[in-house]
Symmetry: C2
Subunit: 247 residues, 2 copies
């Protein structure tokens, strides 16, 4: 091994990775970028950060970070999510890897895009060392984004529909006990189409992983709705059996 590589190795084995000059990661680095979609009340948004450093200082961008030499790719994505939202135990899925030579002005950086879906209410995104501020943006009002992040956002939005179905991502934006109307609203927002109430409910009845509870809504000025819950284990078993969940 050459001396130059020994130098790098000693650098990256230091505990405090933040103290490494940014230049030292570059010329051959990989990063993760997270497209964190947020749902609340029939509104789909995306979490963006305002960059506090060059390049693209003051631009909005997807939250992301370089991958530390000692962490798995998936872990790095989870870490970014946790740093911003304090959320753990949220599944975050790989979308695609972006590796054009000149996508990053400071050097060669290949980035792996991840996406997930969370509930936006009462979620307080924190600014971090690399972010001046953070905010939920409506998908209809996306500002100019740094790097190739607009392209990444588009790809993730396309992937979201598939994940909502195949990974039951929708369960991450509903309370433990929810009504069928709430569930229908989630699907309508994410898939961006109106669904017929009757037909929707007919389908739901076939899905054993959606279980009717004995409980119902209270204090509403209309007929109270039955509450349902989602059984992740039953869902996984159904998927393994080759079951195909559609809407």
């Amino acid at each position: 091994m050459t001396d130059s590589l020994k130098n790098i190795e000693s650098l990256i084995q230091q505990k405090d990775l933040y103290s490494i000059p940014i230049d030292d990661f570059f010329k051959s680095a990989f990063s993760v970028d997270c497209v964190i979609f947020g749902y609340h009340d029939c509104q789909l948004k995306v979490l963006l950060i305002e960059r506090g450093t060059e390049p693209f200082e003051n631009y909005w961008a997807l939250p992301g970070d370089l991958v530390y030499p000692t962490e798995d790719l998936d872990f790095a994505a989870s870490r970014v999510l946790k740093d911003l939202t304090s959320l753990t135990d949220i599944s975050i899925r790989q979308v695609k890897t972006f590796g054009k030579v000149n996508r990053h002005p400071l050097g060669r950086v290949i980035t792996v895009a991840y996406t997930t879906l969370v509930e936006t209410t009462e979620l307080n995104p924190y600014a971090s060392s690399w972010a001046k501020s953070t905010a939920w943006h409506s998908l209809k009002e996306i500002p100019q984004l740094a790097f190739d992040h607009l392209e990444i956002l588009h790809e993730a939005r396309n992937e979201l529909n598939a994940l909502v179905i195949s990974e039951a991502l929708w369960s991450q934006v509903l309370p433990a006990k929810f009504t069928l109307t709430q569930l229908q609203e989630v699907f309508e927002t994410l898939l961006d189409k109106k669904l017929d109430k009757g037909n929707f409910r007919k389908k739901i009845q076939e899905y054993t992983f959606l279980q009717k509870l004995e409980e119902s809504q209270k204090n509403v000025n209309h007929r109270p709705s039955q509450l349902y819950c989602f059984d992740q284990d039953l869902f996984n078993k159904a998927i393994i059996k080759g079951f195909n969940f559609e809407m």
Copy 2:
């Protein structure tokens, strides 16, 4: 920028990349691995190489290579395909990125998996600097593979079905003029299920990108078959219009 990084930079800017000691790429490198599926005569195979160097010397593995600092990710995958098969103008698609810390014994290597489908006949895979030999393997008889390549192969096989439909990959394994029976055989092999002849043909008629030619088979001891051709432009247009190709 530190001296150590300047050293690396000067190394990687040399034209003859093969002359760089393998160690110098490591501790933070990215590679591409290609899952090249081959079809001929109702048989689906995959192209494997026998490694000529450590680690995993003499093991079978997916063909792949480190990504040069000056090439795009997609280009690197095309290059690996071309080196082995001489094929160009074949679309090769990203599957997923594998980034576990210890997936490569010599250091941190993140690999981006690509997949494609080609015709196996008369295709002479070349051995290269890093491969002792190459061979098509039946998917039912996969030897022990190096690294996490078995997992990569599985993921790619799952992805193949989707790509066959959405990207018309099947057109890459048929001659320019083909019969509907040939087409049906391709689908049956790739999707791994029997299709009804009548129903298959009924669907084909709806697809304008499959055009009936004036020509038919010759010198067969049964009724000669109509020949068809595939129009990639019409297919692309149909996809853009939101058309959903299914089988």
